[in-house]
C-alpha cells in the first residue's frame, strides 16, 4: 500500500468517514467554492483617503519609509533622490513590468537601470506592488515574467512603487484581488506579503533590521 492510501485510510478510520461520502464532499467543495471571508477587523474599513493614510502610518511603524507622489512620472526622480539621500550609487535593478519600465527614467541621466532578476550584486531593487493592505501596512508582491521575486529579497534596499488605488483595507480584499486577476483556485508562483524590512530577534531578543532580506524598505505611494 502506498503512503498516500495508508495515510488517507488512517484518517478516514479515525474520522469514521467513508471514501466517496458525497455529503461531506459537497460541503467541502462548497466551502472552497465560496471562499468566504471571516472576521474582518474594523481597523482598515475606511474611506479611500484615510485608508491610504493608515497604510502609510502602519508601514512606518514597521520601520519602512514612505514617500507619497501625485503622479507616477515623478517616480524616477524620487528613486534618484532616495539614492542620493542614502549615499548610494545611482544604479537600480528592476523587472520588465511596464508599470515601471514605461516611466521616464531617461530624465535621470545619471541613474543606471538594470533589468532582470537579481544575482545578489544589487545595492537597490525597485519593484511594483500588486496591491497593499492598510490594516497592517503590508505590500502584496506577485511573481511573474516581469516581476522577479529575487528583487524582493536580495538587494540591500528595496524600493516598492504602489498605486494608492490598489491599497485595500484588509488582507481578504487583497486576496480577492489576486483571485480576480489569476482566476478562482489559481495562484501565481509566488505571492510575497511584505510588512517592513527584514529583521531578526534571535540574539537575546534584540530587534535588528536587515537579517537576510533588505535592510531598508522604501515605499513610494502614487496618487490618492
Amino acid at each position: 500500500m502506498s503512503g498516500r492510501e495508508a495515510i488517507l485510510g488512517k484518517v478516514r478510520t479515525a474520522l469514521k468517514a467513508k471514501a466517496g461520502d458525497t455529503v461531506r464532499l459537497a460541503a467541502v467543495n462548497e466551502r472552497m467554492a465560496k471562499s468566504a471571508p471571516g472576521i474582518i477587523p474594523a481597523r482598515g474599513q475606511l474611506p479611500a483617503k484615510e485608508r491610504i493614510d493608515l497604510f502609510c502610518a502602519q508601514a512606518v511603524k514597521l520601520f519602512a519609509s514612505v514617500e507619497r507622489l501625485a503622479s507616477a512620472d515623478a517616480v524616477p526622480a524620487a528613486v534618484a533622490g532616495y539614492l542620493r539621500q542614502k549615499n548610494l550609487p545611482q544604479s537600480v535593478r528592476m523587472g520588465d513590468d511596464p508599470r515601471l519600465s514605461d516611466l521616464p527614467w531617461s530624465q535621470e541621466g545619471a541613474l543606471e537601470v538594470r533589468h532582470g532578476p537579481s544575482d545578489g550584486n544589487d545595492e537597490v531593487g525597485v519593484s511594483h506592488a500588486f496591491g497593499g493592505v492598510a490594516e497592517t501596512g503590508t505590500v502584496v508582491m506577485v511573481s511573474g515574467a516581469d516581476n522577479p521575486t529575487t528583487i524582493n529579497f536580495l538587494p540591500e534596499h528595496h524600493i516598492v512603487v504602489i498605486d494608492a488605488t490598489s491599497i485595500q483595507g484588509d488582507l481578504e480584499t487583497a486576496i480577492a484581488g489576486i483571485r480576480a486577476r489569476f482566476g478562482k483556485g489559481e495562484m501565481p508562483r509566488t505571492v510575497n506579503l511584505i510588512s517592513g524590512p527584514s529583521r531578526s530577534g534571535d540574539i537575546e531578543q534584540k530587534l535588528i533590521l536587515g537579517a537576510h532580506g533588505p535592510r531598508a524598505l522604501h515605499l513610494i505611494v502614487v496618487g490618492g
Binding site: S2, G3, A6, I7, L8, K10, V11, A14, L15, A19, R24, A27, V28, N29, R31, M32, S35, A36, G38, I39, I40, P41, A42, G95, G116, G120, T136, A145, P148, T149, T150, N152, F153, L171, E172, I175, G185, E186, M187, P188, R189, T190, V191, N192, L193, I194, S195, G196, P197, S198, S200, D202, I203, E204, Q205, I208, G210, A211, H212, G213
Partner: protein, 475 residues
C-alpha cells in the same frame, strides 16, 4: 535526535543550575509577554478571531481526508509533486531521494520544526549531503550542535557572548581582530556567510505554516527573509509539512495569520508571509524549477478522533511556552525532545509515547496561562490531564505516588473515618509545630521542606470544632 524526556527531572536540575541559561531565560519572561499583550489589546476583534481560527481548524480536521485530496490535486495541476510519508523514516528517505535525483551536495533550510521532528539534518549529513540552516537562531544552534529550545526562537537559550564565541570558532576565514561586540555585527557576519550558501545550494527545504486546499499553495511566515532565499534561489524547493497544516481557503489562512504573529512575537504580521504554488512558471526569470511537498503523518492520524484531536489545531506560535512558569524555569531542552513547553507536554507523548514522555504532562502546575493565551483555544491543561489518566490506567506513574494517592483517596471517600483520623493527627502536628507555627523539616514532607518551611496546622480541625460546637448546642 536523542530523546532525553525520561530524564526530565535531571535535565531540569541541570537547567536550574545553569547560570548562563537562567540569564537567557530572563529574556523570555519579559519580552514576549508584553509584546503579545500590546498587539492583542490593539485589535478589538482578537477574541472573535480566536473563535474563528478554532472553527476553521476544527472543520479542516473533520474533513482532513477530503482537503488533503483536494490540495494534492491542485499542487499537481500547478506542476508540483506531492509525496506522502507515514513516518519520519519515510519522510527522510523521500527527501533524500529527491535530493539525490538533483545531485545535491548542499541544501539550505528555512526554519522548520517538522524537519527537527524527523531529524533530517543528521540524516542528510550521514548520506553526504550538507544541510545549512539559514534562520539566524537555527544557524547558531547548528554551529553549536544543539537543537532548538523554543519553537519560534530556537536559540533563545544562547547568550550574545556565546554567539560571538561560536562565530569566532567557526568562521576562521574571517579576520580574527574583527569587532563582534554588538549584535548587529553578529547578524551582519551571519548574513554574509549565509549569502554564499544560498547561492551554492542545490535544494532549498522549508516547512509550511499552512497548506491551502483551494489553490495547492504552501505558506511560510518569517521575519528574516531566509525562508524566501532558501526557496527561490536553488533549482528545487521541497516543502515539508505535517498533514494538519491544511486549511480550506486563502481566507481561512488570513484569519489564522491575524492571530499567529500577534500571539508569537506581538507583531500584527510577520515581515514575510510567502505563498508558493508550484514551480517556476513559463516565462519566469527566477524561482525553483521543481516544487515538491512532503506530507507527513508521523502519528497525527492516530490523534484524530481521540481526546487529543484538538492538539492538531496548534499553529506553533509558541505563546504557551512564552507564558509557562515551568518553561521559564527550565527552558526548552529539559523537555528532552523537539517540542517543549505546554504544547510539547501534550504533543510529545502522542509522537514518541507516554512511556517515554510521561514526565512532560505531569510537570505542570495547571495554572492555565497557556490555554488563556493559545490563539487556537487548545485546552492544554485538560489534555495534559488526559495523559495523566492514561498513565494512571497503565500504572506508569511511580509506585510510591500511586500508593500514597490510593491511601489518601481511601479516606477521602469515607468522611467519618477521614474526620476521625484528621481529628487525631492535626492537633498533634500543631503541637509539634510549636510557637514558630512552622516546620523546617518533617518526615515524608521532604519534597516540600527541602526548599520551604511547612506552615503548621492551627490545632483542632475545622470539622472537629464544628462538631464540638454542635454537640454543645450551638450551630
Amino acid at each position: 535526535m536523542q530523546i532525553t524526556s525520561p530524564a526530565f527531572k535531571q535535565n531540569a536540575k541541570g537547567a536550574l543550575a545553569d547560570v548562563q541559561l537562567q540569564q537567557a531565560l530572563g529574556n523570555v519572561r519579559s519580552g514576549f509577554i508584553d509584546k503579545r499583550l500590546k498587539a492583542v489589546e490593539a485589535l478589538p476583534e482578537f477574541e472573535a478571531l480566536r473563535d474563528s481560527a478554532r472553527a476553521i481548524k476544527d472543520h479542516a480536521l473533520a474533513n482532513l481526508d477530503l482537503y488533503l485530496e483536494a490540495y494534492e490535486k491542485k499542487v499537481v495541476a500547478s506542476g508540483g509533486h506531492v509525496h506522502w510519508a507515514e513516518s519520519a523514516e519515510d519522510a527522510r528517505n523521500i527527501i533524500l531521494d529527491i535530493c539525490r535525483k538533483a545531485n545535491a551536495k548542499t541544501v539550505t533550510k528555512g526554519k522548520s520544526m517538522i524537519t527537527e521532528e524527523i531529524a533530517l539534518n543528521d540524516f542528510l549529513e550521514e548520506k553526504g549531503i550538507r544541510p545549512v540552516e539559514t534562520d539566524l537562531g537555527e544557524y547558531i544552534i547548528q554551529l553549536r550542535h544543539e537543537h532548538p529550545s523554543h519553537i519560534i526562537a530556537p536559540a533563545v537559550h544562547v547568550t550574545q557572548s556565546q554567539v560571538e564565541a561560536d562565530f569566532r570558532r567557526v568562521h576562521t576565514h574571517l579576520d580574527a581582530a574583527r569587532d563582534l561586540r554588538e549584535p548587529e555585527a553578529l547578524l551582519n557576519e551571519a548574513r554574509k556567510v549565509l549569502r554564499e550558501e544560498y547561492f551554492a545550494a542545490d535544494v532549498g527545504i522549508t516547512g509550511a505554516n499552512f497548506l491551502i486546499a483551494e489553490t495547492g499553495t504552501s505558506i511560510i511566515v518569517t521575519n528574516e527573509g531566509n525562508g524566501d532565499l532558501t526557496q527561490i534561489l536553488p533549482k528545487m524547493h521541497i516543502a515539508v509539512a505535517s498533514i494538519e497544516k491544511i486549511v480550506p481557503t486563502l481566507e481561512d489562512a488570513s484569519q489564522i495569520l491575524r492571530v499567529l504573529a500577534r500571539s508569537a512575537t506581538g507583531q500584527d504580521m510577520s515581515v514575510y508571509t510567502t505563498m508558493s504554488t508550484g514551480p517556476r512558471r513559463e516565462g519566469d526569470v527566477d524561482g525553483p524549477g521543481e516544487y515538491h511537498v512532503v506530507l507527513l503523518d508521523n502519528g497525527r492520524s492516530s490523534m484524530l478522533g481521540t481526546e487529543f484531536q484538538e492538539m492538531l489545531r496548534c499553529i506553533r506560535c509558541g505563546a504557551c511556552m512564552n507564558h509557562c512558569p515551568v518553561y521559564h524555569a527550565v527552558g526548552g531542552h529539559a523537555y528532552g525532545w523537539v517540542y517543549p513547553g505546554p504544547m510539547g507536554a501534550v504533543l510529545t507523548p502522542s509522537l514518541i509515547g507516554v512511556d517515554k514522555a510521561g514526565h512532560l504532562p505531569n510537570a505542570s502546575t495547571f495554572c492555565g496561562r497557556c490555554e488563556s493565551v493559545c490563539p487556537m483555544k487548545i485546552p492544554l491543561p485538560k489534555m495534559m490531564r488526559h495523559w495523566r489518566e492514561r498513565e494512571f490506567e497503565r500504572g506508569l506513574n511511580p509506585a510510591a505516588a500511586r500508593s500514597g494517592l490510593k491511601f489518601w483517596a481511601f479516606f477521602a471517600r469515607r468522611p467519618a473515618l477521614y474526620q476521625a483520623m484528621t481529628a487525631i493527627g492535626m492537633p498533634l502536628l500543631s503541637l509539634l509545630g510549636g510557637k514558630s507555627h512552622r516546620f523546617g523539616w518533617l518526615p515524608l514532607a521532604g519534597g516540600w521542606t527541602r526548599h520551604r518551611e511547612l506552615p503548621a496546622p492551627q490545632g483542632k480541625t475545622f470539622m472537629q470544632q464544628v462538631r464540638s460546637a454542635r454537640s454543645a448546642g450551638a450551630r
